[in-house]
């Protein structure tokens, strides 16, 4: 029986070129896991999806395993491409470009938290070089903030009840998944 970890690795994994080191690690881990399990899946191969933003093309590497792509993949990659192409002083107030490592952490998190047919979030830049992904549905808001220091925090708000929560994201995004389940 597949473990949750194996399930995650079986899905497509998306990364910008800066993420090639981690991509290689995951490929190695997957190879090790495959060695201990019997599987009739085709061997995943590295593939590229390209998106254009602000006149520039951004390439995202992922492992193609022949499975259908999640519905959110295209909009999410476009959102991240929009961040990659922001230059220094993108806000006119001296903000630095969005940190590439932070972008790659957020990309990996999307795969962790989003069901196959989830609504795509908005992906927005922060002036501290971090980024935020956010959903606004059915009068409820969920945000995940990725700070360039590595800190990841969440925010939840229900406009009808006034219920509001914020805090650090724990292992495997368990709390965030709970709040996201309230807005689908």
């Amino acid at each position: 029986m597949a473990t949750p970890e194996l399930t995650r690795l079986e899905r497509n994994f998306v990364a910008t070129p800066d993420f090639s080191r981690l991509l290689a690690e995951l490929t190695e881990r997957e190879r090790r896991l495959d060695a201990g399990t019997s599987s009739c899946r085709p061997e995943p191969v590295a593939a590229i999806i390209r998106r254009t933003s602000r006149g520039r093309q951004v390439a995202f590497w992922y492992l193609e395993d022949g499975e259908p792509k999640p519905t959110w993949l295209g909009p999410v990659l476009q959102g991240f491409a929009n961040l990659v192409t922001l230059n220094d002083n993108w806000d006119g107030e001296g903000a630095r470009r969005i940190d590439p490592t932070t972008i790659n952490r957020a990309l990996a998190a999307m795969e962790e938290v989003l069901p196959y047919d989830a609504s795509a979030p908005s992906i927005v830049p922060l002036q501290n070089s971090g980024l935020q992904v956010e959903w606004h549905r059915n009068g409820k808001d969920v945000e995940i903030e990725f700070d360039p220091t590595g800190s990841v925090t969440f925010y939840y708000f229900d406009a009808e009840s006034g219920e509001e929560h914020e805090g650090r994201v724990g292992p495997w995004f368990a709390t965030v998944k709970e709040y996201l389940n309230r807005i689908w």
Binding site: E93, V124, L126, H136, F157
Partner: protein
């Protein structure tokens, strides 16, 4: 990072209107067919704003706040709201700053930034734009 000192100028009245420029990426689809302002626009410790009263004294219109930046939008909050959210408000008009420039100073947790985003009033455009629906 330790919290920095929060300063506030008590000479600035609570009803002062503070204009905040919105980068195009800070306006996102909401859930009622309208765009909305993301809390990301209100997270900086030192949040850059323009005092509407100073701009008016200087004979400038709100549109002047977006000069040279046609893709951006403009919203406003009040100094009173900022203080309710434990922020300080100060003038910051020394050159090379804009002569109407100011700062909203303070740590902005996500709940604070979201309160700013919910309470902010649209200035340019005057109401939240409709969410664009992509053709099939």
């Amino acid at each position: 990072m330790p919290d920095r000192e929060i300063t506030d100028d008590p000479a600035i009245a609570d009803h002062e209107v503070l204009l905040r420029r919105l980068h195009a990426d800070w306006v996102v689809p909401g859930d009622r067919g309208r765009m909305r302002i993301t809390s990301a626009a209100f997270k900086n410790f030192e949040l850059s704003i323009l005092f509407l009263s100073l701009m008016e004294q200087q004979g400038r219109s709100k549109e002047d706040a977006l000069k040279g930046d046609p893709d951006s939008s403009l919203c406003s909050v009040t100094a009173g709201l900022a203080r309710q959210l434990e922020q300080g408000v100060i003038y910051d008009t020394e050159p090379p700053r804009d002569p109407a420039h100011g700062l909203v100073i303070g740590k902005k947790r996500q709940s604070i930034a979201n309160c700013f985003a919910r309470e902010a009033r649209w200035e340019i455009p005057s109401e939240a734009p409709l969410v664009a629906i992509e053709a099939p």
